[in-house]
Amino acid sequence: MVQPLDTLTETASQTAGPYVHIGCLPSFTGIEGVYPEDLGRSPIAEGAAGERITIRGHIYDATGWALRDAMIESWQADAAGRYPGQAGADPAVTGFARFACDGESGEWRLDTVKPGPVRGRGGQVWAPHIALWIVARGINIGLQTRIYFAGDDHASDPLLARIEQRPRVETLMARPEGEGAWRFDIRLRGEGETVFLDL
């Protein structure tokens, strides 16, 4: 026998189900009056520094069908690469947003500022990115991925460097669609499958 490890085990995940909006985006599903507004309506407030951008996309299943019932949460640094709560962070950037795929078209949309590069342990520098967490009916544990931006310098990004099959790096790149407009489609399974993370 050995000493027991004095640790607990994480609670097991379960799918958010098709009615996740009731709890997380009640106004989106027509439940008004319980909360003043849905949580995470915008990751920025008036006066946030940096370049305003809009990112749009769909989430496709293995058959190429766009999900209509998924919810996405995003978390990002401010234009200078600082997260809320860190010294010098932009007080107008909360960094957190929550949005649903449209019930008819499946398209989602995020209005924010473009984040700056982030410094981590050991002098590592992460290229500008937005972390995503995706939940939906049929997804048993939330999927982590990241939006990077095509055209930025990605040469030293430690996460992108870890992707062995280089063509898969492209699945994490938002594509420009005009002034301040970007597209980022997510493919859950199969051809062009998005890189999902375990961080």
Binding site: Q14, L39, A131, R189, D198, L199
Partner: protein, 235 residues
């Protein structure tokens, strides 16, 4: 605050691809996840203050219209801890559920059981300094769903927890002690480890119930912890 998160033990979580839960077949990645040590994006996360929480947010019996919902009145309480057993204070917990008849207030729920005009189905609260939370609600009913030809969800409450880091984000479901539908549910059974599934089942807690008023159920939640290290103070 800083420090790498402990790697997630994927084997205690549900299998992403589980054909008995049919929707997972087209929505589970086929390729392996990219694993590496957590980064600032996962080690930081949104924080919500008490100003967010309204006086009735944690009272689902009354928070929709002010008039009481119909059903078995229950109090759900517990603690949010991390893997080191430390309480997670001041973290946001959100819940949603069907009404006492198993009907959700959602455009896509076409079940014949009626809506309760006084039940919305959502609630939220912050944990206190010791990681404790509680809310009042009615016990949800079981409901049928289009998976197998005669599949019914056990009574359950969906629970969303933030923790203090985006990498701790968790959504799960709380089931009720003694429900014979749990063993028959393809969603509950996506958790293959019986001991882990048991931890999603809240026991009846008569000690925290109140005579002539409500029954209580206890549901503790454990989030990912951080690795202990004195050598990573650069963040």
């Amino acid at each position: 605050m800083s420090g790498a998160l402990r790697p997630r033990r994927r084997e205690i979580h549900p299998r992403p691809y589980d054909p008995a839960y049919k929707t997972s077949v087209t929505r589970a990645p086929a390729l392996p996840l990219l694993s590496m040590e957590s980064t600032p994006s996962e080690e930081t996360g949104p924080r919500f203050g008490h100003s967010l929480i309204g006086p009735r947010d944690a009272d689902l019996i009354h928070n929709f219209t002010g008039n009481p919902a119909i059903g078995e009145r229950i109090r759900v309480h517990g603690r949010v801890l991390d893997e080191a057993g430390r309480p997670v204070p001041e973290t946001l917990l959100e819940v949603w559920q069907a009404n006492a008849g198993g009907r959700y207030r959602h455009v896509k729920d076409g079940y014949t059981a009626p809506l309760d005009p006084n039940f919305g189905g959502c609630g939220r609260c912050l944990t206190d300094g010791e990681g404790r939370y509680e809310f009042m609600t009615v016990k949800p009913g079981a409901y049928p769903w289009p998976n197998g030809p005669n599949d019914w969800r056990p009574a359950h409450i969906h629970v969303s927890v933030f923790g203090h880091a985006f990498g701790q984000r968790l959504i799960t479901q709380m089931y009720f002690e003694g429900d014979p539908l749990i063993a028959r549910c393809p969603i509950a059974q996506t958790v293959r480890d019986r001991a882990q599934l048991d931890r999603l089942v809240a026991p009846l807690d008569m000690g925290e119930s109140r005579g002539m008023d409500y029954l209580a159920y206890k549901f503790d939640i454990v989030l990912r912890g951080r690795r202990r290290s004195v050598f990573e103070g650069e963040m």
